[in-house]
Amino acid sequence: MNPQMQAVIDNRVAIINSFKEELIKRLNLPYKPEDLHEDISLLGAGLGLDSLDALEIVLCVENCFGVKIPDENTNVLRSINTIVDYVIEQRAKEGSAQ
């Protein structure tokens, strides 16, 4: 595997692992981190989390990564992967702003 691809994976894995561990702890989910597929639907179907849990997810992201998810941006909360994409995107914006 080329080093560029490995770097993308490493960056993503670091975010995924932090988020999953925090999510499992905050929501007392009966799963190990490796049980949570990154595409699983968080709200409604899949994990079946509700609107109160959604608030916890938003706080989890803020605590883990210092990234705020605006109230109207429910699009981001579709899956672990879409949340990770958002974190990476926001970090890149902050990076280029500096």
């Binding site: 595997m1 049980d35 595409d39 429910t74």
Partner: protein, 369 residues
């Protein structure tokens, strides 16, 4: 081959049919573009009578069902539904199932990748007769109402309190002198309902649903477009990636399992595989260009090394490109990576986060209507 009790009605409405695992289902009524539009923009009515349907008394059924299915049936509250699966003794998928606690009965709705006789044999071996399991396949129909305006159709027919039904819940409603069981569930990522009705009410229910759907410029949908909608919304499809991969763990179905349960069908092998660690995972891919070669069984390459196999594909109208699911080694099963289809020179494939679309239904708050 089992056919729908509504077959003649479907045929009169232009249905083409396909056989899946010994059961016939309407696959297409008009064209996939039109049927896609019905679900994503208005409402689609579908014949889901291909599902295997059972009822069992709650008292005798709870232990039977809990010992069979991967999820925790005993914890399903009155009026709520568990989405789980049935596995064989080796822990490989047989059916994708909804189990509904409907007061003094459980209703079980299955999409199975074995035929009726094999599924019935599995259930009977596990004590179906003793539990009082009743097969509803010939006595009942299931009609689906899916789409951005699905809530409007069921509200018009069953009343506005239907808007209060949470996702994965069941309620009984009167209809034409009888009763139907309305389930709020669906796999398109838009609003969805399944209505389980006795055959005697099936024709009238279908006519009423279709007439009401047409008021909202909706229409009939077949299984072909449901396959595409499921993939686009990243809903598990046992008829696509499920039938090819069969192992619930690489498919990411751990959320359907209660690992704390002592046992269920296939629990030993599933728990062993979980302990060993999942070596492969199914993740989303998107292809550049026409990508006509992107189909189940195609190989994904990293330069000259084959790295993954495509397990499901569709043309995503929301993204205007072909998307799919592919089985990758877990070490590289992450979105944002570039590969190609076939050896060097094949069309470019990118791994993507799923679901790749934002369904219109997520913008609607039913409790504010």
């Amino acid at each position: 081959m089992r056919v729908s009790p509504l077959r003649e009605i479907m045929l009169r409405n232009g249905a083409k049919f396909v056989e899946r695992y010994g059961v016939e289902t309407p696959s297409l009524f008009s064209d996939t573009a039109t049927e896609y539009g019905y679900v994503r923009d208005t409402v689609g009515i579908s014949d889901f009578s291909y599902m295997q349907k059972f009822s069992v008394p709650e008292e005798s059924g709870v232990d039977f069902l809990d010992g069979l299915f991967a999820g925790n049936v005993a914890r399903v509250r009155f009026g709520r539904i568990l989405h789980t699966f049935l596995a064989d003794d080796e822990g490989y998928l047989l059916a994708d199932c909804y189990i509904a606690n409907n007061d003094e009965e459980f209703i079980v709705l299955c999409e199975s990748i074995v035929d009726d006789s094999e599924l019935n044999a599995v259930l009977n071996r596990r004590g179906a007769k003793e539990a009082g399991l009743e097969n509803l396949c010939d006595s009942h129909v299931v009609l689906g109402v899916d789409g951005y305006k699905a809530w409007a159709v069921v509200k018009e027919i069953f009343g506005s309190d239907v808007l209060g039904l949470p996702y994965l819940s069941i309620e009984v409603y009167p209809f034409e002198g009888g009763e139907v069981r309305l389930v709020r569930a669906g796999k398109t990522s838009e609003f969805g309902y399944l209505i389980l009705a006795p055959v005697s009410l099936g024709g009238k229910l279908f006519d009423t649903l279709l007439k009401t759907a047409r008021k909202y410029e909706g229409g009939l949908c077949g299984s072909d477009i449901h396959n595409d909608l499921r993939l686009e919304g990243r809903f598990f499809n046992i008829f696509a990636e499920g039938a090819r991969v069969r192992d619930p763990l690489p498919l990411g179905l751990q959320w359907m399992i209660d690992f704390d349960k002592e046992s269920f069908s296939g629990s030993g092998p599933i728990k062993e595989r979980r302990e060993r660690g999942v070596e492969k995972k199914v993740i989303g891919i998107q292809a550049e260009g026409d990508a006509e070669d992107l189909k189940p069984g195609s190989s994904v390459f990293d330069d000259s090394a084959q790295i993954a196999t495509v397990e499901a594909t569709c043309f995503s109208r929301a993204l205007s490109s072909r998307i799919g699911l592919a089985l990758f080694p877990a070490s590289v099963a992450y979105s944002g990576l570039d590969f190609q289809l076939g050896e060097k020179g094949g069309c470019k494939i990118k791994t993507i986060s799923m679901p790749p679309i934002m369904p219109k239904s997520l913008t609607v708050k039913l409790d504010e209507i």
